[in-house]
């Protein structure tokens, strides 16, 4: 099969890159041939094989300051890159990820007369918490159009299915729910906790409170920062590490300064997978304060490393975590609730340990890439038949 995605490692922006990587490699292990088309990234080759996945990267030779114009242009170059290959390979199905690759995918469907499967990872109305600009309205329209053109639509949670069916009037029987996954073995690495904590300025006996995510409003990091004064009164020795990059970083750093606790708060910027695993493994609690989260793969990553997870009870996160059994739920947009959740974990280490044991158990049973690949192949079979 062919796969179209605008992000794929090392071009890692959000969860789509990791999803595509995990799924593509698992499909290859199930003896399927996967040809993946994506955009280039500094330092990456325009063709390579990654664990059997054939990765083709398109270089965008033209640009334009307007985002949507730029998207149309890169779709042209993705289509051109794909055209070189489809003349030699007879794909059974084309699988596209999110609206950003929709134009190429829809062109492929009509030229090649082959089925197209679309995975919707999130929606514009959810990401932007409404449609506030002409570009947002246009993206919303492209999302509707790509779902209309797709032979089947995959989403990662029941809440996401409700969202796309409700917002786009999509028939429910056109949508398959396949949860995200992670490779749990990747998170079982020896880590020198003391060295990691020292590297980030966290001393012995101090609490390490970690937050990992893109620095964008939908991740709700501003509410976590606003909880810090309250947490600091209870745990004056706590340190707060915020991992990730994003357009609202400046605003979040200003929010951190306004707490009067900024010397305890560290923004690391983008961190490699290895660094994230080391930090999660060494942290006392992982906070996921999202206000919109179709799935919440970061919660699974935390569960895999054995760190207690405190998360907003929203969307997909509400399906991944069981309150007070595999993690702790807090109210979204509520600094007081976030502070309560963190205290619930830090004040009762035995309970926290029990939560993490339950979380690991659930993770192994429910969220493997092999299971995701098998369910995805079932969807491919439906459209091919």
């Amino acid at each position: 099969m062919g796969t179209l995605t605008w992000e794929f490692p090392p071009r890692v922006v959000g969860g789509i890159a990791r999803h595509c990587e995990g799924l593509a490699k698992a499909l290859v292990k199930l003896n399927h041939e996967v040809y993946l088309f994506t955009l280039d990234f500094p330092g990456s080759p325009n063709y390579e094989e990654m664990d059997g996945v054939k990765v083709y990267r398109a270089s965008t030779e033209l640009g334009h300051p307007n985002f949507l114009t730029w998207v149309l242009m890169f779709n042209h170059f993705l289509t051109k890159r794909m055209a070189d290959v489809v003349n030699q390979v007879d794909f059974d199905v084309m699988h596209i990820h999110d609206w950003l690759a929709a134009f190429s995918g829809i062109s492929f469907k009509h030229y090649m007369k082959k089925p197209m499967v679309l995975t919707v990872h999130s929606t514009e109305v959810g990401r932007a918490q409404g449609l506030h600009s002409p570009d947002s309205f246009s993206i919303n329209g492209i999302e509707w159009w790509s779902m209309y053109e797709a032979d089947r639509v995959i989403v990662c949670s029941e809440s996401m299915k409700n969202e796309v069916c409700g917002h786009f009037n999509l028939p429910g029987d056109k949508v398959d729910v396949i949860p995200n996954a992670i490779d749990a073995t990747k998170y079982q690495i020896p880590v020198d906790h003391g060295a990691v904590r020292q590297r980030y300025g966290v001393g012995w006996g101090e609490k390490l409170i970690l937050c990992v995510g893109r620095l964008v409003p939908q991740k709700g990091i501003e509410y976590f920062i606003r909880a810090i004064p309250s947490i600091s009164r209870r745990y004056p020795e706590a340190k707060y590490i915020i991992v990730g990059e994003g357009w609202s970083r400046d605003l979040l750093e200003a929010e951190a300064r306004a707490t009067g606790q900024s010397r305890k708060i560290k923004f690391t910027g983008f961190a490699s997978d290895r660094e994230v695993i080391e930090l999660m493994t060494s942290a006392d609690v992982l906070v996921v304060p999202s206000i919109y989260e179709p799935f919440g793969i970061v919660a699974l990553e935390g569960m895999a490393t054995g760190v207690p997870v405190v998360a907003s009870q929203v969307d997909g996160l509400a399906e991944v975590i069981e309150h007070d059994r595999t993690g702790v739920f807090v109210y979204p947009r509520s600094p007081d609730s976030i502070a309560w959740g963190i205290d619930r974990v830090l004040s009762n280490p035995d309970h926290a340990r029990w939560l993490t044991e339950n979380a690991k158990d659930k993770l192994h049973k429910a969220y493997s890439w092999e299971a995701v690949a098998m369910k995805t192949v079932d969807v491919y079979r439906k459209v091919v038949e």
Binding site: R11, V13, T60, G63, L100, A128, E222, E245, W247, E255
Partner: protein, 91 residues
């Protein structure tokens, strides 16, 4: 606690520094072979040179852009962190 309106801004309403970062990305200045001169950036963005220089210097300090000298002209392009910052707007 009240909502911070600054977090609800759309890219078009962002400060010029962030808008410049986004524009540099979208017009393709994403690696040294695609770097642009101040003159070229000015034509694309319609910002005047002193304002551009101030913003570019700040972006370099933050690690989002870098410059090098070629044929006695300074040229600018985004770093990997700069690219990731822009892409975070769109996903």
């Amino acid at each position: 606690m009240g909502e911070s309106h600054s977090f609800r801004q759309q890219p078009d309403e962002q400060p010029n520094q962030l808008r410049l970062l986004i524009m540099l990305h979208n017009i393709g200045a994403t690696e040294s072979s695609k770097s642009l001169t101040i003159q070229q950036i000015s034509e694309w963005t319609r910002m005047d040179t002193p304002e551009l220089q101030t913003h570019l210097q700040k972006l370099i300090e933050l690690g989002y852009a870098q410059s090098f000298r070629s044929n006695e002209t300074d040229k600018y392009h985004l770093t990997v962190n700069g690219i990731r910052k822009v892409l975070s707007l769109y996903s």
